[in-house]
């Protein structure tokens, strides 16, 4: 590999959080107690927590200062007006509703435009998005290009929606039954892969043609803007902010979990263009979240989001962010670890089926890797395979997921390069005794969203 210059981080550390160093035998004990499910580990027993990049970022000193000037008034809070101004400028939409996190924004919008007989089409619905849509009685259909499902094909915009299939589906279900087309950017479920501007524009044209609503699920919109600037030639001279603004200018509604590119630990947003829709959304907001000028957030959290949304578009930050994920991914690949390619915006996905070919799918190779990473290195990550997405047929045989992946999600501005180098070292150990790795069986599982609370054991 060509020696690259060390990545420059456009910040220094102002507050640290001490970590506990544990031994392998201690971690083995914790794994047994957690039923080999890292979701059930206590975070103090984790050394490097790559479970998610959602809500786990470090805020800046500016954001912390904003936390102190947060206005906690129930109605008409200054912090709300601050947030509203920032989001109106970014989205070009007049109606801004704060929510406690992204899934609440989804629930509000989709329960209004969804319902029985309605169809949502997306490049890929995220798991909570799908749950919210199906809860209303509507159907959620994912259509990425077939190549995107292959972890090895190197394409610049594997997050794109399949436009041919989109047109077919609209004809099949009739335009009036399509509640919305949702573009998830970046596309988390296929590996944090970006969506191109030309793809979004094409979807906008289709939406115009058939009078269908376009929703941008944009919790990682800044990361997506980075890829557009560097991979779509006509955008190379635009700023990340301008690109994000252009994306949102194409949409009728914008949903955001601010816990990702909002650079905060809690919070979400819903913005809409249409006033009548805004009124309906505000009614539901008051019922389930909070009054329209706080939406279930404290004033200081709104301040922090407003500031986070300006910090995230800083070119030096985004360069550092995307390059640091690539650093981990490229070095893993160089070691011979099979990773989803190209490397996405917020995480590296390891192909566990390929790493552990001797573990059958119904013994969950991804879970085996997740447990090995914790035991050997105190690293916590998540299986994105048949534990998370598998279902059963009538004979209770496993219907496996598309891929058996393990996601190493990198929190924003939290871990240093030496932490990442440590993760790479642990993967050397993973490679050394990969043949000895054993699979798992599920010994307890709840009826829905089992990956959060299921318990496992080794097969004797």
């Amino acid at each position: 590999m060509k020696k690259e210059r060390t990545l420059t981080e456009p910040f220094k550390i102002k507050i640290v959080e001490p970590l506990r160093i544990t031994t392998e035998s201690y971690r083995q004990q914790q794994l047994v107690q957690a039923g080999y499910n890292p979701f059930l580990l206590h975070s103090e027993d984790v050394f490097i927590d790559l479970l998610t990049d959602s809500g786990t970022g470090a805020m800046s000193d500016h954001q912390w200062a904003g936390m102190l000037i947060g206005d906690e008034s129930y109605a008409g809070s200054k912090s709300f007006f601050h947030l509203q101004r920032i989001v109106q400028e970014l989205s070009g939409m007049p109606f801004v509703l704060p929510t406690h996190q992204g899934r609440a924004a989804e629930r509000i919008l989709y329960s209004i435009i969804g319902g029985k007989g309605k169809v949502f089409i997306s490049n890929t619905h995220f798991d909570t998005t799908r749950a919210n849509i199906e809860y209303t009685g509507a159907i959620a259909i994912d259509i990425v290009y077939p190549q995107a499902k292959d972890p090895e094909i190197d394409l610049p915009f594997k997050g794109n929606i399949d436009l041919d299939q989109l047109l077919e589906l609209i004809e099949e279900y009739r335009p009036q039954n399509i509640a919305a087309i949702i573009m998830t950017i970046t596309n988390n479920s296929v590996g944090g892969q970006p969506v191109s501007m030309s793809n979004i524009k094409a979807v906008r044209n289709i939406c115009n043609q058939y009078s269908i609503m376009l929703v941008i699920d944009g919790c990682r919109i800044a990361e997506n803007a980075y890829f557009i600037k560097h991979r779509e030639i006509e955008y190379q001279d635009k700023s990340y902010y301008e690109i994000a603004k252009e994306i949102l200018g194409l949409a009728d509604a914008f949903i955001m979990s601010a816990k990702k590119d909002g650079m905060v630990n809690i919070g979400g947003l819903l913005t809409v263009k249409n006033e009548e829709l805004a009124i309906l959304c505000k009614n539901l907001l008051i019922i389930s979240e909070g009054f329209t000028t706080y939406g279930g957030l404290s004033g200081r959290d709104m301040e922090a989001i407003a500031i986070g949304l300006t910090e995230v578009f800083d070119p030096d930050y985004l360069h550092y962010r995307i390059k640091s994920i690539a650093y981990l991914g490229e070095h893993l690949k160089a070691k011979g670890i099979p990773v989803v390619w190209p490397i996405g915006g917020h995480a590296v996905y390891v192909d566990a089926k390929k790493l552990y070919p001797h573990i059958p799918i119904n013994e969950f190779p991804g879970q085996a890797l997740v447990c090995n990473l914790y035991r050997k290195g105190g690293i916590r990550c998540v299986e994105v395979g048949s534990v998370m997405f598998g279902t059963y047929d009538e004979q209770m045989n496993l219907i496996p997921a598309q891929n058996e992946l393990v996601r190493l999600a990198i929190p924003r501005r939290v871990y240093t390069q030496s932490h990442i180098d440590y993760v790479l070292d642990i993967f050397d150990e993973i490679l050394e005794d990969k043949e000895q790795s054993k699979g798992f069986k599920i010994v307890y599982e709840p009826p829905v969203l089992r990956h959060f609370t299921a318990l496992f054991d080794h097969i004797q």
Partner: protein
């Protein structure tokens, strides 16, 4: 000498460590602001408000210990240390077994209602609260008020106006059968009755009755510590008990709880659902992921759970409650000295002014309570909340509901305002009272379809020529 001691008795057990600067405005600035807000205090910008008595919910100031814990909040998505502290605090101070965090109280109500209520069920409760009743109805239930009649009379000085009338409950059980009643929604320190407490005796009797019929009691506990203070002060056998002990005893007679931590627990955001029933817990754990977040954060930042854990402890301190309620009572007594008509006894979290008696020359459809909130704001920048005909909305025929009580709520945030602020409020109320005959009512010029009190707009009625 005695007088001085009385006055000193509620001195705050804290001092100020950080302050928030306020903008001082003059009458013409305030006149302009209230006109722009359509004479609706909800639509005022908070920066134009001097003393904000709109609500005591989420407007508290936190302690340095809470801010300290804020910095140690663990933001891990799963298994956060802060969650275990939060869980431990609730288990040890309130005594409930299984805990689910939520972003605020109404979210816990939503989840609980979905789990326990079947279509057509009856939910008896000691007076409704807006969001609580709404979630019961959305889940298919029907709310039925079983509070004692005294609660509806603003001048009845009964000391426990939050009590349940067991005869009303018994009539419901006889009429519908206990199987149609999944639980009783029991609020401590009943908000809409004016922050009025329920007695321990009444809770015990209710427990005895419900055990017989196997009906759950779900505790709406957002102001339980304030209720406990009143029990300590007013109920025989509790004078020497600590608030901490009384709170735990109250909880022990109930099967689960929903809590908005934004009141008693001295934070700005957060809530939880608690239950002693494993099955309810398991179902709640699945539902909370859909609505709120994973069960070890439930839509809250780690630091918020830290702050709640400490806030609960601080709220159960006898000296804290003495100062808290002492301050509310100080304001109430001051208003009584000025002959301002207020709901009695003085409640735990605010003063409720009787706008009908304050402005007897206004007809109810000239919105006396709304008028009074606007006049208070114009006089001194004090923001209060209407709880009368505007809040009550319209019936299915399109007529106003004309509620019996036409009140203005002066809600006191915890640990935020000083005695001087209380004096300003009372003096301002007195000044408005002195010129009350000259005050003209309002007409509604914009009325939204739902929950009109939040966004309705008004104009002053023109003086006769």
């Amino acid at each position: 000498m005695k007088k001085i001691q009385e006055k000193r008795s509620w001195a705050e057990p804290y001092k100020m460590k950080m302050v928030e600067l306020l903008k001082m405005t003059n009458t013409s600035q305030r006149m302009k602001a209230i006109k722009e807000a359509g004479f609706n205090t909800f639509l005022l910008k908070s920066e134009d408000v001097y003393i904000d008595l709109l609500t005591d919910s989420g407007t508290n100031s936190m302690s340095d210990r809470q801010w300290g814990a804020f910095m140690t909040g663990d933001e891990a998505y799963a298994g956060s240390k802060s969650f275990y502290k939060f869980e431990h605090a609730i288990q040890s101070y309130y005594g409930y077994k299984y805990i689910i965090p939520t972003h605020q109280g109404r979210a816990a109500e939503n989840i609980l209602s979905k789990i326990l209520i079947k279509k057509g069920d009856i939910i008896p409760g000691n007076m409704y609260f807006t969001t609580t009743r709404l979630h019961q109805e959305l889940a298919g239930g029907i709310f039925s008020d079983i509070i004692i009649d005294e609660a509806h009379d603003p001048y009845n000085e009964f000391l426990f106006k939050g009590n349940v009338d067991l005869n009303k409950l018994d009539a419901l059980v006889k009429k519908f059968g206990a199987h149609k009643i999944p639980y009783i929604s029991l609020a401590t320190n009943v908000n809409l009755a004016g922050g009025q407490p329920i007695s321990m005796q009444n809770i015990k009797e209710l427990r005895e009755y419900t055990s017989h019929y196997n009906i759950r009691i779900i505790h709406d506990m957002t102001r339980v510590a304030e209720n406990a203070y009143f029990i300590q002060q007013r109920e025989a056998g509790y004078h020497h008990k600590k608030i901490k002990e009384i709170v735990k005893e109250i909880c022990s007679y109930t099967d689960g709880a929903t809590m908005s931590a934004k009141k008693d627990a001295l934070v700005n955001i957060g809530g939880f659902l608690a239950t002693n029933d494993w099955d309810v817990f398991e179902e709640a754990r699945n539902l909370v992921v859909v609505y709120e977040g994973l069960h070890t954060y439930g839509g809250l930042a780690g630091r918020d759970m830290e702050a709640i854990a400490i806030g609960i402890k601080e709220s159960l301190d006898d000296n804290h409650q003495k100062a808290r309620i002492g301050q509310v009572e100080y304001l109430g007594h001051k208003m009584l000295e000025y002959n301002i008509p207020i709901v009695k006894p003085i409640g735990g979290h605010g003063i409720f002014v009787d706008a009908k008696a304050f402005l007897p020359h206004l007809k109810q459809d000239e919105f006396p309570a709304q008028t009074l909130t606007a006049e208070m704001y114009i006089d001194s920048g004090v923001r209060t909340m209407e709880r009368g005909i505007v809040s009550a909305g319209r019936n299915s025929n399109g007529d106003h509901y004309y509620p019996k009580l036409e009140l203005v709520r002066f809600t006191i945030p915890r640990r935020v305002y000083t005695q001087a602020h209380m004096d300003v409020i009372a003096e301002s109320a007195a000044r408005v009272y002195a010129k009350r005959h000259k005050i003209r009512g309002l007409t509604m010029v914009y009325e939204p379809k739902y929950l009109r009190f939040f966004q309705a707009k008004f104009e002053r009625i023109k003086p006769p020529l």
